[in-house]
Symmetry: C2
DNA sequence: AAGGCTTTGAGGTACGTCAATCAGATCGTG
DNA sequence: CACGATCTGATTGACGTACCTCAAAGCCTT
């Protein structure tokens, strides 16, 4: 016979359909004793409620909001487009996703944007933002109001978010260091580390992991202090060429965050030392092209499509009180070389 | 207002519900003229049929069969367990997956197993098998009978399968070569290639890609002919130690297919040259441990959970005539180092 | 225009669940 | 034991679709 239904439970427990329904949906008006009887019938029959029938009956709509920076960066652009692609498909699944774009590098704007979210109108949010106490408090408020919350790409571990969707950035930095060290060996020299900003938690964690492995595994290589380009045009070229002049023995460059386009352009203009090993993060049109030409040796990245799909699945699972497949939601630290580009 | 329903279409087209239903489900008894009227109403209203309601109404059950080798190998074992994990979740989705295990290395058994599948009882199959004309014909028969068919891990490109679920093995071999060359440089010497069998298409393709990149990019490294261990206990140790004696300048070993456990044990017993670089395929308990100890420098793998989930999604999409998200179904060639182990 | 054919309409039941009502049963308490 | 108060049962109507029947209407052909 097929899967047990509410009718079977009613029969097994010796109660009516209405009572089973009240127990299943946590409505009041059922004695503890009767509840137990129903629960044990559910267990013994192995009943699992048919979510699609339930959603059909109750006309359920999942309303999720993605709070994302709208920057000039290629990475957030690809996040946006992955999300839009996913939205198409999810409409069929009764999932309605809205994007709330906020100016980057401005936590105050993020807090304001979160304030505009009416907890009665929204079931869950995914947020990518820098870590500040104000942002954390705004998130906690929404979580307290019953929203499902996941952090995206860059975590806010001290907040009340339900999940973090993204890679372990310390491990990502360690992976970058391992590749850098092995690609360089047995050559020695200095490694330059550049990024647009060290304010974001993900950049910090990558740098931390990178330094740890470089110091322990490749002590003969000298890692220079991080230079920040702060998304200012021209600044990346200036700091990179200054560093190359100051340290003629630079053999590697590790690009921690965004700003790959500027870095690549700067290297093209000022010329690169022979055998220079460049390792960068995030697959974008620029890093892809540079992998193909050999300007970048390896890119460490996370699949943006996977990110958004995982975030949506987690939000949905939270709303329905469902369990998740751990392995499906673990975002992989992908190592991309010229030969395994997707 | 919400999404349009069949009622709205009937109204818009000026026909009855029954007629809309006949058109939607391709039942006979509707004049071409009326069909067109209904179709244009569907288009103008942007109607999309609610699959979950439809499946509920028709009591649909997707019945899929996975035809997998049951070998001693860790990789197929992990495939089995990933599949069993996925089955739990998919039961809630009206998806019923059965595993049909066949003895490995015996195409005849595969054909026999496929013959036991009643096309009336099954909606789709996923199959992992060696490429022979008989297997191909058996697959074509099932496809002709209307089953959805995907090949898993190792493709049968000349068959009528709908999709291949797995990595591009040529690219995987190229990736292995690029890593091997860069990890070795500037050292030169010989690279040993071992596998359990070159009969499977995936092994062949990997070897092909590996050779291409080694010859073109690292001509100073000498790649030895492939040695096959054929899953015979003891044979791996014998051929590896013989090779190491015959070629004292072996600097790298590329393990194309299964047999990693035997390879690692052999190396432990007979001792390994200093600086030896070992690159292997597929993450298993053995390769994971060896990555952690440093015995293996890199593992190239594919996520088995992703494999089975993708296969199920593709089979379902085929059954429903739905479109798919290309990027979600592309299995990534994962490069695993000690630091980015999942 | 009568015959036979195809096409269409109207209506019903079902799928598994949610949600609501109202009447009846049971309970604890004084 | 009678009183509200609290539980429970029986029933009904959604939700959007599938599938079936029966009768009515339309269309040809002769």
């Amino acid at each position: 016979m097929g899967k047990p239904t509410v009718h079977d439970i009613a029969l097994e427990a010796g109660v009516s359909l209405a009572t089973v329904d009240r127990v299943l949906n946590g409505r009041p008006g059922v004695r503890q004793k009767t509840q137990d009887r129903v629960q044990s019938a559910i267990l013994s029959l192995g009943y699992v409620r048919d979510l699609s029938a339930a959603n059909l009956a109750r006309q359920r709509q999942y309303r999720f909001v993605f709070v994302l920076p709208e920057g000039p960066g290629q990475f957030v652009a690809s996040l946006h487009s992955a999300l839009r692609e996913a939205m198409e498909v999810q409409r069929a699944d009764r999932i309605d996703v809205r994007i709330l774009a906020v100016p980057p590098h401005d936590p105050h704007q993020v807090v304001r944007a979160l304030g505009t979210i009416d907890p009665g109108e929204v079931d869950g949010i995914a947020i990518m933002a820098q870590e500040t106490p104000q942002v954390r408090d705004a998130i906690d408020r929404l979580a307290a109001a019953g929203l499902a919350v996941v952090t995206l790409v860059s975590d806010l571990p001290d907040s009340d978010r339900d999940h973090f969707v993204g890679i372990n950035n310390i491990a990502a930095g360690r992976t970058a260091a391992l590749l850098m060290g092995r690609f360089l060996a047995p050559a020695t020299g200095k490694v330059l580390v550049v990024t647009s900003s060290l304010l974001a938690r993900d950049s910090l964690e990558r740098r931390f992991g990178f330094d740890a492995v470089m110091a322990y595994e490749f002590p003969e290589v000298d890692v220079l202090p991080t230079l920040e380009a702060r998304d200012e045009p021209g600044r990346m070229a200036a700091i990179v060429s200054a560093a190359l002049v100051a340290h003629p023995d630079i053999v590697g460059i590790y690009s921690v965050g965004s700003g790959n386009k500027a870095l690549l352009e700067a290297l093209r203009r000022i010329g690169r030392p022979a055998g220079l090993v460049v390792i960068a993060h995030e697959l974008t049109p620029h890093t892809r092209a540079a992998l193909e030409t050999g300007e970048i040796a390896a890119v460490i990245t996370q699949d943006v499509g996977h990110l958004v799909r995982s975030a949506v699945r987690l939000l949905r699972a939270k709303c329905d009180g469902l369990s998740i497949i751990q392995s499906q939601e673990r975002i992989r630290i992908e190592v991309l070389l010229r030969e395994n580009l997707p």
